[in-house]
Amino acid sequence: MASIAQAIRMALHVGETRLGVQDVFGQDVGPPLGGVFTCTQGLTTSWNAPLDERGIVGMAIGLAMAGARPVAEIQFCDYIFNTIDLLKIAGNTHWCTAGQIQVPMVVMTPVGSGIHGSIYHSHSFESMATHMPGWKVVLASNPLDVYGLLISAIKDPNPVLFLYPKALIRMHGEEKIPGEPDDVKQLSDMIDAPVGDRQTWQPQWPTLPDFDIPIGKGKKLCQGDQLTVVSYGRTAPLCLQAAHNLKKQGSSIEVIDLRTLIPFDENMVFESVSKTGRILVVNEDTEITNYGEHLIRRVLDNCFYHLQAPPKLLAGANTPGIGLAECLEEAQVPQLNHIEQAMKRLLEIKG
């Protein structure tokens, strides 16, 4: 099955061939590199921008105002922070102009830890991203969801921040993207640029039928009735693994991959918590004013009388950065063992 990098590439190919995308751009996005994570290799509309995040985001806003469908990339979310007032403008333009001007643009950026990225290649961004009304915010955890949601992001008339977990970029999915070949090597031969000289290389895109995954819909990774775990991005598959591990000990845990943070799938979360009476939110952004706190507040507003235990947030340590040493990184952002422990503690509380 495809990797996340390949899924992004195929979604952008669909975008530029069928959805009107004429610009996929950012630093190192165009040939010859095709993105530092190879997510934009082989595209016909990709181009290299100056190393200027504000210029990149500004260009995308202008293109969108002119009726284009730009997809801009910020190479690491760690470098998106100096664009925040431009991101705010993209988010507030439709409101400020009483509906006159739409800004249909996608900004893609990889987030989170997991590549020994130290202080400036390990940031999370969702808590800040979700604090900018007017944006939709997506953070998927596997190639199929990345593919389907990126297509929806391109189609969306609103600005969409498309975050993706850099730790999982090379991970191959368990679910097949419609149209991709069965053989992993065959797909690689078709759409992965060769190492070395690529000047004459052309990708052979698989035939990709119409497909998308709607923004705003979560995904149940497993069913359970004792505890609801809500996660997304890098920690979502860890939560699933932890739930499987604890199932062997008799625990019944429901894991929801939120996939979209703004708007999030309220029905799925509230129905699940109303059933289980317990909720654990897991992400790796710093814990203070964390997006998970918003989820918990919304659960308290809507499911309070169903709760049998205090809601719990398991998030990143409130530190200015992620340390380079593996032992530091593992101590700072949730790992499998942290998630299992948090699950156990919640399950031990008697309702």
Partner: protein, 338 residues
Amino acid sequence: MPKQTFKSDQEAFRLAKSRTFNPLKVYHNMVKARALEERLIKMSKSEDGYFWIGGPGEEAFNTVLGMLVHKGKGLDYDYMHFHYRQSATMLALGMPMIDAIRQMNNKVTDPFSQGRNFVNHYVKKEWNVMPVSSPIEVQYAIAPGTAWAQKRHGGQGLTIVTGGDAGTAEGDFASCLNFSSRPMMEVPILIIITNNRYGISTPFQEVHGDLPIAKRAESFGIQWATVNGNDPIASYNMLFEAMEYTRSSRKPFCLEADVSRLRGHSSSSGAAVVDSETDCIKDFETFLIDELIVEDRELQRIKDRYHAEALEAVKKVRQEPYPDPSTVFDHTYVMEGA
């Protein structure tokens, strides 16, 4: 350094007239803009409005800019990314004076933001006027996007971006120069700086060494010029040539206009009359009388007419409704199918 004053130049005047410069029409718009701004300031000091910011002192340059725009919707026409001192341009484009008053009075009839945004924060999709926002520099980063779309589209449309001298300190100005001048990917954009030599209270010369500002464009390979923005004839000729260059070459041009600021930065600094700076309207009146284009008493009639229009507009707008608070979430997102 004193602000530049109007200098009578018969050759320039003849040239401008051959390019359809109409002195009386320009004067009318300048006076209309001044009357509007003076009324807006009065409103800000009464119960008719809150904060005021605008463009008294920039009427000469901004009027002729508006008259040279190819107005329309879409890539074949000019895109405009303005800052908040552009009332004379909007009037020259055809905006009814009352619409600015509606925005000042934050009424739902405000066609730009329905009572949501400050006065002089214009947007009009039908004319390619993109939203004015309060940050002083962001338009410089955004404008190359519409210009890039126009470059790809072909035709004669160009993008115009304006900002003040203080805003050029921000990196977005450099972003604009850079993104506009990528080799083989230059875009048709007119990058304008209206230099009033202040950022709120801070003199430009106290915190900048880059005068003229437009010369910064030179290191990007961008053609540039400066002009006396208090002189509508010189400004008209310069803008005419800069726009012709940009339309035909599909390349950027950077123009710095020296302008006055006759009522300070905004209502936050009192909006008091500044009589130490050149008043482009007074200077142009002297020229019009000397050239026998209009008589002195007619000038007063023109002023009275626009002041009366502004006052009548306020009276009308006072009767119009405020936005319904229940609409506060409207347009946060584009709804599907919209």
